[in-house]
Symmetry: C2
Subunit: 79 residues, 2 copies
């Protein structure tokens, strides 16, 4: 089963990468870009067909190494 885990900085946490991209886009003439936030996405192929088990495993993986829960949120999507 394929699963997607999106990791994003929490609202209110400063995002220097997003800020830099936003600045670069403005410099390139994309004047109407207001805010940019950058995040990470992980696509995992898991040898398990039970959706509930895959969800649980994905959340555990996010908690363990994929996301830093102090500053990041994550979202699991079964594909």
């Amino acid at each position: 089963m394929k699963v997607r885990i999106d990791v994003m900085l929490k609202e209110g946490v400063l995002d220097p990468q997003g800020k830099a991209i936003g600045h670069a886009l403005k410099t390139l003439g994309f004047d109407n870009v207001e805010e940019v936030r950058a995040g990470k996405t992980f696509f995992l192929d898991v040898q398990e067909s039970d959706v509930a088990k895959v969800m649980e495993m994905a959340e555990e993986m996010a908690h363990t190494i994929l996301a830093n829960l102090v500053i990041e949120d994550f979202k699991v999507t079964i594909l």
Copy 2:
């Protein structure tokens, strides 16, 4: 209007970050993880209400700085 741009390595392009994460997950006991691919996501807030214009702008931004089209694919989603 909010727009999301997902940038992923093309199929077949070696993904060392994904490989490292897959290895780390196996070491941590997640034995049934088969493949991991890592990608980037950008959320943009654009001051423009015309969907077609925003799509066009997002594709241009992806071509210009967000994605390296030699090794990466991208997908634009209007939120």
